[in-house]
C-alpha cells in the first residue's frame, strides 16, 4: 500500500519537471505540489513525461489547469516526450488539436 507510484523530479534544466510512474487520483496531489513549486508566474514550464506510464482524467485536468494558469500570467507549458499510453490519452481528448504544445520523444529507443 505504501509503494511510491509517482515521483516528481526537478530536472537539471530550470523550469523542467519530470513525472515518473503513474499519475491518477492517488498521486495527483503529489504531482500538483511538484508542478506548483516549479511554476513561477509567467514562466515556461516543461513537463517531462518520458517516464510517465499512466495518466487518468484527473492527471489531464492537472496539466490543463497548470497550462491555463501559466498562460494567464504570460507563460506556457510544454509537454515533453509522452509515452505511448499518455500520448494515446492526449489524442483521445484532442489536446494538441486544442493548442497544447506536445513535443514527441526525440528518440523512440528511449522508450
Amino acid at each position: 500500500m505504501n509503494d511510491i507510484r509517482l515521483q516528481v523530479e526537478a530536472s537539471e534544466e530550470p523550469g523542467t519537471v519530470r513525472l515518473i510512474g503513474e499519475l491518477d487520483i492517488s498521486t495527483v496531489e503529489l504531482a500538483s505540489r511538484g508542478l506548483s513549486a516549479a511554476a513561477g508566474a509567467g514562466t515556461k514550464v516543461s513537463v517531462d513525461l518520458s517516464k510517465l506510464t499512466f495518466i487518468d482524467s484527473s492527471g489531464v485536468r492537472l496539466l490543463l489547469n497548470l497550462l491555463r494558469d501559466q498562460r494567464a500570467s504570460g507563460g506556457d507549458v510544454v509537454l515533453q516526450a509522452p509515452t505511448d499510453h499518455v500520448r494515446h490519452v492526449f489524442d483521445i481528448l484532442g489536446l494538441e488539436a486544442n493548442g497544447v504544445v506536445i513535443i514527441p520523444p526525440s528518440n523512440a529507443s528511449d522508450r
Binding site: D24, I25, F54, D56, S57, R61, H85, V89, G94, A97
Partner: protein
C-alpha cells in the same frame, strides 16, 4: 473467462484495479487492447472511489473470444448534474475517456431508495478474418 474482485473505496486502490485488469488481460491473452481497458477501468474505479460514498466496490471481468466486458459497481448513489462548460470547464472527461476507449458503455445510476451504481463497458475484439493486417483502430469520434 470470469473474474471478480472487491476493492476498498480508497484512492490508492485505483492502481490495484489496473493491475487486476492487466492480470486478467494477460490470462485471457488480450494484451493488444490492454491500454484501452486500463484507461476505462481506471476511470470507472475512480468514479466509484470518489463519488459512491461507500466502503467498497466490485470489478468484474468477463471475456469470450469475441469481447471483453468490464463492470464496475458499488452500492452508492450517483451524483450527477448537467455540467455548465462556461463555469465548470470541460466536465465529464472521465466518461468521455471510457466511451472512447471502449465500444459500448452503459451506466446505471444509483438513487436514493435504489442505491447501486453500475458502469458496464464492452470492448469488441477484432478477429484476424475481419480486420486486414495493418489496419488499426480508427481514431475516436470524441476527439477534439
Amino acid at each position: 473467462m470470469n473474474e471478480r474482485r472487491v476493492f476498498p473505496a480508497d484512492r490508492r486502490q485505483v492502481g490495484e484495479v489496473r493491475r487486476f485488469i492487466a492480470a486478467c488481460a494477460e490470462a485471457a491473452e488480450m494484451s493488444d487492447v490492454l491500454p484501452d481497458l486500463l484507461i476505462a477501468a481506471s476511470e470507472a474505479a475512480a468514479n466509484a472511489i470518489l463519488h459512491s460514498g461507500t466502503r467498497e466496490f466490485r470489478v468484474i471481468w468477463r471475456s469470450t473470444e469475441d469481447l471483453v466486458e468490464i463492470t464496475v459497481e458499488d452500492d452508492g448513489m450517483f451524483v450527477d448534474r448537467v455540467p455548465l462548460p462556461e463555469i465548470d470547464g470541460i466536465a465529464h472527461r472521465g466518461i468521455s475517456l471510457m466511451a472512447a476507449a471502449m465500444d459500448e458503455l452503459s451506466l446505471v445510476e444509483g438513487r436514493i431508495g435504489r442505491p447501486g451504481t453500475r458502469v458496464k463497458m464492452v470492448r469488441v475484439l477484432p478477429t484476424a478474418e475481419l480486420i486486414p493486417p495493418g489496419l488499426g483502430r480508427p481514431s475516436s469520434r470524441l476527439a477534439g
